[in-house]
Symmetry: C2
Subunit: 190 residues, 2 copies
């Protein structure tokens, strides 16, 4: 039987996998979004074959590298969905999600792409959309959002705003300014 979790890996394999992930996160943190596979292999001190064995595609590596941030976002979304005031919860979630993406080019890339390669992240994504869906439903009832906006619209629009912020100086004032445009844009006309 093939190993299905990290724990089933041989000790050296687990070590190599961890090193590759570590290097990938370092590159992402340094703003390198391309993640050249050969560079990663070299920096991690492993062969290229090893990188490809653990992560068959760059997308798979990327998704594994940003798993942590993704989980934080999901937790925030679930908390927001349980907020007494859905309008406030939505605003809090959007402000959080946008800042999270701005601080993590990898996570932003994963959220931007229409689907996830690995099952683990696919599930996170589905859970996230479900939580946002619940939040939106309550926000609609409370009249805090335009009724035609769905969970995936929120995802795509946030990613768009993130890219708009990134295209400039990305200072605090701009983040707030652009986030406000999104927040006001999805609020119903009064």
């Amino acid at each position: 039987m093939r190993p299905t979790t990290v724990d089933d890996l041989r000790a050296d394999a687990a070590r190599n996998r961890a090193r590759v992930l570590e290097v990938a996160r370092e590159l992402l943190a340094a703003g390198e979004a391309t993640l050249p596979m050969n560079t990663i292999a070299r920096l991690a001190g492993v062969g290229i074959g090893t990188v490809y064995r653990h992560f068959p595609t760059r997308q798979a590596l990327l998704e594994s590298a940003v798993m942590g941030g993704f989980e934080q976002l999901l937790a925030e979304a679930q908390s927001a969905a349980a907020d007494d005031d859905p309008g406030a919860g939505l605003e809090r979630l959007l402000r959080y999600g946008i800042r999270l993406q701005l601080g993590d080019v990898g996570l932003a890339a994963v959220l931007r792409s229409p689907e996830c390669a690995c099952a683990r992240t696919s599930r996170l994504r589905a859970d996230l959309l479900k939580a946002v869906g619940r939040l939106l439903e309550r926000a609609r009832e409370a009249g805090a959002i335009r009724p035609e906006i769905g969970a995936d619209d929120v995802r795509r629009l946030s990613c768009g705003i993130v890219q708009a912020v990134r295209a400039g100086s990305s200072d605090e004032a701009e983040i707030d300014r652009y986030t406000n445009v999104l927040l006001c844009g999805i609020r119903p006309d009064r």
Copy 2:
């Protein structure tokens, strides 16, 4: 003296240049945004060297290829800036610009990038921003837009919305829905 305009080119050179541009536009129209230089050379029936001589970088080729669309956008912006109702002019311009970008991946890429490589497009861009600036100033006076939104914010936000639309089915309803979010988002609170 070196040729400074297309007319100064030798007959064969002008022919090759036109062919390369034609092929580039075809690829862009087919949704190919990468524009591989060797592919372009092959399709245009010229050597790679010829492509690079006329267009030293991919960006330069891209900008030359989308010049026409850019000029249309500028014309629309200047017309909008002269509109009696600046609010209506702004809405018209944004709807036009977003649809234009959705129909032309090349133009969208050029508008998204922070600056232009060739002088010709740099000037178009400067003129465009100037026209939008005039439009915004009038819109501010008329209370049709949040005062903190500038011309470059409009550019970046539109590009963000375009990318958000592109991330999905891009059907008519979605284009309107997302464009409305932007329009409402930049309107002042009432």
